[in-house]
Amino acid sequence: MIPEIGQFALIIALGIALAQSALSLTGAARRIPAFIAVARPAAQGLFVFVAIAFGCLAWSFYNNDFSVLNVATNSNSRLPTAYRIAASWGSHEGSLLLWVLMLSFWMLAVSVFSRSLPDDMLARILGVMGLVAVGFLSFMLFTSNPFERLLPAAADGRDLNPLLQDPGMVFHPPMLYMGYVGFSVAFAFAIAALLDGRLDATWARWSRPWTTAAWVFLTIGIALGSFWAYYELGWGGWWFWDPVENASFMPWLIGTALIHSLAVTEKRGAFKAWTVLLAIIAFSLSLLGTFLVRSGVLTSVHAFATDPKRGIFILCFLAVVIGGSLSLYAWRANRVAPGGRFELLSRESMLLANSVLLLVACGAVMLGTLYPLFLDALDLGKISVGPPYFDSVFLPLMAPAVLLAGIGPLIAWRKGEPAQLVGRLRWIAIVALIGALFVPLAFGRWAALTSVGLLLAFWIFAGTLTALVVRYRSNAKLTRSFLGMLLAHAGVGVFIVGVTLVKSYETERDLRMEPGDTATLGGYSFRFEGVRDVSGPNYAAARGALTVQRDGETIARLAPEKRVYLVQRNPMTEAAIDAGISRDVYVALGEAVGGDAWTVRIHIKPFIRWIWFGCLMMAFGGLLAASDRRYRIATQRREDALTADATVIRRGTA
């Protein structure tokens, strides 16, 4: 019964979305107040019904209802409760439902928090988002119904893929989707503004906090995914340039460019057409990512079961949504009034260069991801592009962007002061050079790329600090949005430090160890105590025990595992990690090699936590910026004005 309620709720949601987008878009175009008034309640109703559907699916998983095909293929009665619920989004159908849930959640948020928006603008925005919801709801109902029944019911389920049985699975997809789908708000604002012809600073001010919020979620989502891969996949890597990772990274790059470009549009009224284009591209890439993952045109570790019918549906949907918005852009963008003028040396041109670099970097990632497909389509042979391509293309593009990020905040809008800038730059350059030359000495080994990485990191630290000092001395107010920007930039520096030091100084050893054997690596000694069999709720494991000592003192006891999940019979490696600010000690259990001996892999990963800590700083910076007072004031003022009007009217009638 419950699954049928879920399916029924989805059908109602589709009906609401259809009615909502049709009525509010026509209403806004023809100025029919009754139609415009539908937008807000309809968006809220849509959320309620999608939430009911999602609840029904989660309930089916929670109660092990194996008469639902989706549950039978992706869960098992022995699966722990938290993973049973997370399994709701472990399948193709479930993750689409999560997508739509997030979309309707953003619509709900827009309908609640945008009281300052004119009603017709709000109707357009919600109408555009409603259209996207129509596409995804019909995709689900026609090709990937999450509530399909399996009759007769299976006795037990085929279990969730063991790779996904991890706390990461509980948090990573919802965060990532919040970010992905959050760009639909910026997209809807852009389309609404194009339809309306009102592309101005107010528009930028409205869409800025929403875009930043989506970007924050996406940043956290990607960082969580990378952290998950690091400890779950068992070989200590943290980024693989896998097509699905790239699919989330491309919108992030464009989203970053968009945030910066929006700043210019809000403050200086410039780059309007460019900002709108970036908003369209950011969401288009979210859709493209969904297409790449869901259609199976590319092979990847994240691949789900694929079905050509689904691929064609998403491709048509992509063509309509993106093609439609780019046509609208081509038609309307030339009506945008030119923005304020600026000199070559100005914050505007720094930000423009930065967004072009990010766009090109995104293009390079996209090329690497789709290149095998292009060549195959042209019948030019079959190739695969590995990390070597990405590593060699990405650094030269990102290095100048980072240099710009270090000095951008120091340059004035419109026209910078060359003399003043040179004075400040001198200090930044000195700090960066000292850091780049001397930090490697502390590690005892020097390489050119290490210095380049550290140079960039110290450059951005010094630049950020200088910007803070300059702002403080000028007695200008330290707004949240300014502090957030600096914090995010410092986060980029922290991230670079992590990447550089890990790439340069990580060490590892592969050992054959018998109980009682001791090995040393990087000043640590590892004593192998042996392996014993343990059993988990739905797996059997061999659990090793290692004592890690430094200078004769025990600092950690690690228990890496080799698990075999009972249903799918896949062997899984659970690495054991002793985490630290300056290094991670990472131990993974290999194979049993005769007698009591096992192969053991030990890594020392210096400063690897900084990678994710840097991402968190970026995300927190974004959060600060999005919560800046001036966005709230805009709301407040509008309300004050409204109540004032209401008072006047009441007085008039009295």
């Binding site: 693989f240 259609s295 045109v297 092979t299 570790v301 093609g323 389509a377 592969d510 062997p571």
Partner: protein, 174 residues
Amino acid sequence: MKRFLWPLAIFILLVGFLAVGLRLNPREVPSPLVGKAAPAFELPVLHQPDKRFVPGDMRGKVWLLNVWASWCVSCREEHPVLMELSKRSVMPILGLNYKDKGEDAQRWLKQFGDPYQLSVVDADGRIGIDYGVYGVPETYLIDAEGVIRYKQIGPLTQAIIDDKVLPLAKALKK
């Protein structure tokens, strides 16, 4: 007006490619090589570069040719399955180390274990083209006459081994 049309034009081109790509879906189209003789090659052996290997050496045996590379993420996912299979020694597994650096490949095998009877080195991917390698990993089941009987695109899983590869190998051995 014209410059604002560029994004649309680029996008249309992209959609064209994606549409063709959908039709080419590697998982849906069976390899034309299945049922044909495995393309011949002569390649150096990874651990003994002065020794060379030709598929003819395996005549009379049913064997697996697994295309792998140290930079390939899915190979790591697949690797435990191959290790398990090699432990049961039901059939020889040979590796085709695809577009890889010799030292990386050797380190990879040392780190994760070596399921292969031997690996041959296809440094520039030329043999991969003959075999129609779309991406790494791929696996070919080759019979005693040197004919490709089965091709797996993407990682092998325990289920594929149990349900497809082993039954087919068993039938071929008779």
